[in-house]
């Protein structure tokens, strides 16, 4: 029984340590920003790889690949955000703007003045 308690205690301690490590990492990410955290992680991984004897060109290739991926992801995110905002603006214009233009009685007078063929819509 005592052993069981000890085992569950150490299990909890392990869990708490893992949570503390993750929390520490997320706090650091919040502090330095996700970009710097990612670059830091890649650099650390590179050093670790070099220390355990991975071929240096493989490490350089991995670093460059990660960097290119990061730059391209940033660019793609920015591009998608522009597209999203543009679509939202177009949607607002198409729905609300047209509703106002169509409901306004001035429309016929402005677009189809008398003596110019009358109501082209009618």
């Amino acid at each position: 029984m005592a052993n069981k308690g000890k085992a569950s205690g150490s299990k909890n301690a392990g869990k708490e340590r893992a949570v503390a490590v993750i929390k520490g990492y997320t706090d650091s990410v919040e502090r330095i920003g996700p970009d710097a955290a990612l670059i830091g992680l890649i650099v650390i991984l590179g050093f670790v790889a070099l220390m355990v004897g991975v071929d240096q060109w493989a490490v350089i290739g991995f670093g460059l690949g990660a960097w290119v991926l990061w730059v391209v992801t940033k660019f793609a995110n920015a591009y998608l955000e522009v597209r999203r905002q543009q679509l939202e603006l177009d949607r607002t214009r198409a729905i609300r703007g047209q509703e106002i233009l169509e409901s306004h009685p001035d429309r016929q007078k402005r677009l189809f003045p008398p003596g110019e063929g009358g109501d082209r819509n009618g």
């Binding site: 391209v72 660019f75 920015a78 522009v82 999203r84 905002q85 603006l89 609300r96 703007g97 106002i100």
Partner: protein, 184 residues
């Protein structure tokens, strides 16, 4: 041979650096564009809210409704918006603040201010929102516009801008832009 590989590595590094700088600049300008479009969307919604109210109100003089209708067309239709924005840009680049002709709008607005102060304020808010919507939607890339945007805080300048937009949109409709308007 060794010097060749150093040279190649340096060239590769410089190329990668240039590529990184180019893509970073492009990404930054895309982010700015996205922020401007977001602001344009907010200003457009604000404008529609106020315009809907004003166009439905019987106390608003027809001259002002007419101008509001043209502004709505400029904010809604891309072709009309581009024309209106170019007119604003031209006016700003001319730098002629003395020529703040308002085509009689000022006197109509004065009358509204005396009778219905709330509608007068609404009309000015609609103008500000419409000009912001046009500037944010078509302005990015025109540094002059960003610098001069502050000028629109001045009511007489804003009224002059609105009058100019009103005139070019009326001309656009008269010259056949109405087909766009009919679609709108």
């Amino acid at each position: 041979m060794a010097s060749m590989s150093v040279f190649a590595a340096a060239a590769l590094g410089m190329g990668a650096g240039a590529l990184f700088t180019g893509i970073s600049n492009l990404t930054r300008s895309l982010r700015e564009r996205a922020a401007c479009l977001k602001a344009a969307n907010r200003a457009t919604n604000d404008f529609y809210d106020i315009a809907e109210r004003l166009l439905a109100d019987a106390s608003v003089p027809d001259r002002l409704k007419h101008a509001l209708y043209d502004l709505t067309l400029a904010v809604t239709d891309k072709e009309a918006g581009t024309i209106a924005f170019e007119a604003i840009l031209e006016w700003m680049e001319a730098g002629d603040r003395a020529s703040t002709s308002t085509s009689g709008l000022a006197s109509v607005l004065d009358g509204l201010r005396k009778n219905r102060g709330d509608l007068y304020d609404d009309f000015h808010n609609a103008l500000r929102a419409a000009i912001a919507a046009l500037m944010f939607a078509y302005g990015p890339g025109h540094s002059k516009v960003v610098v001069e945007f502050e000028a629109t805080r001045n009511q007489s300048i804003m009224l002059a801008l609105m009058s100019r937009v009103d005139r070019v949109i009326s001309e656009w409709i008269a010259n056949g832009g109405s087909t766009q308007g009919a679609r709108a």
